[in-house]
């Protein structure tokens, strides 16, 4: 009987899908580098603006990204249920609240890539998207993005249906 129960336990451990989809919850550390795209932007320290190191905390209905920018922390909380983004700058006395369900501009291209990229020894599938930016307070007018992901760290797509920022819905 013990052996039978152990076998059942092992089966569920190896194939969590048997007891329902398991979504990633946890912490991911990132490192970023920045390359100016034109000579006139070479003097700007983008690492100071966006942060070289960041940490993401991900749960079922919220995630946050904490990055160190110019010596101070910036925390952005993405509330998937209330579709709001809270941006908290360490040295500020206020928190900026924006909508998460607002598209940044028209989606121009979306493509599933055939290339597989190894990240942290995990094969990652990729997508490409391009969208026009209608954010007048931003100096760029178009965003071209490649994202590589591993199914090991699956998210609940339903929770992201209204995540229109960056076209992640």
């Amino acid at each position: 009987m013990k052996r039978f129960l152990f076998s059942i336990f092992t089966l569920f451990l190896c194939f969590p899908s048997l007891i329902g989809q398991e979504y990633f919850e946890g912490e991911i550390h990132f490192v970023s580098t920045f390359q100016p795209m034109a000579a006139k932007y070479k003097s700007i320290n983008f690492a100071n603006i966006f942060g070289e190191k960041s940490i993401a905390l991900i749960s079922a209905d919220k995630y946050l990204i904490k990055a160190k920018t110019a010596g101070a922390w910036q925390v952005r909380i993405f509330d998937l249920k209330d579709t709001l983004i809270y941006t908290d700058y360490e040295r500020s006395d206020s928190i900026v609240v924006e909508r998460l369900d607002k598209e940044p501009g028209k989606l121009l291209e979306f493509e599933v890539l055939s290339e597989i990229k190894n990240v942290m020894d995990k094969p990652c599938k990729g997508i490409y998207m391009s969208y026009a930016s209608d954010q007048l307070d931003m100096p760029f007018n178009k965003v071209n993005a490649y994202y590589f992901y591993s199914d090991i760290y699956a998210l609940n797509k339903e929770a992201y249906i209204n995540h229109k920022a960056a076209h992640w819905n």
Binding site: V119, Y147, Y153
Partner: protein, 50 residues
């Protein structure tokens, strides 16, 4: 965190014509997140931009 339904571990994003950012995961920790970790600082005022 993308349309693929999974966390992006590597991305290259061009904010055309200004800057290209390359972001790579370096450490992944599977753990329960305490809802308190998402609490906003109540001593600060909220500024709504919409």
């Amino acid at each position: 965190m993308d349309q693929a339904g999974a966390v992006s571990l590597y991305n290259e994003v061009e904010y055309d014509p200004v800057v290209k950012s390359i972001t790579k995961a370096t450490k992944i920790i599977k753990r329960k997140i305490d809802p308190k970790e998402f609490e906003i600082d109540k001593s600060k005022r909220l500024v709504y931009r919409f």
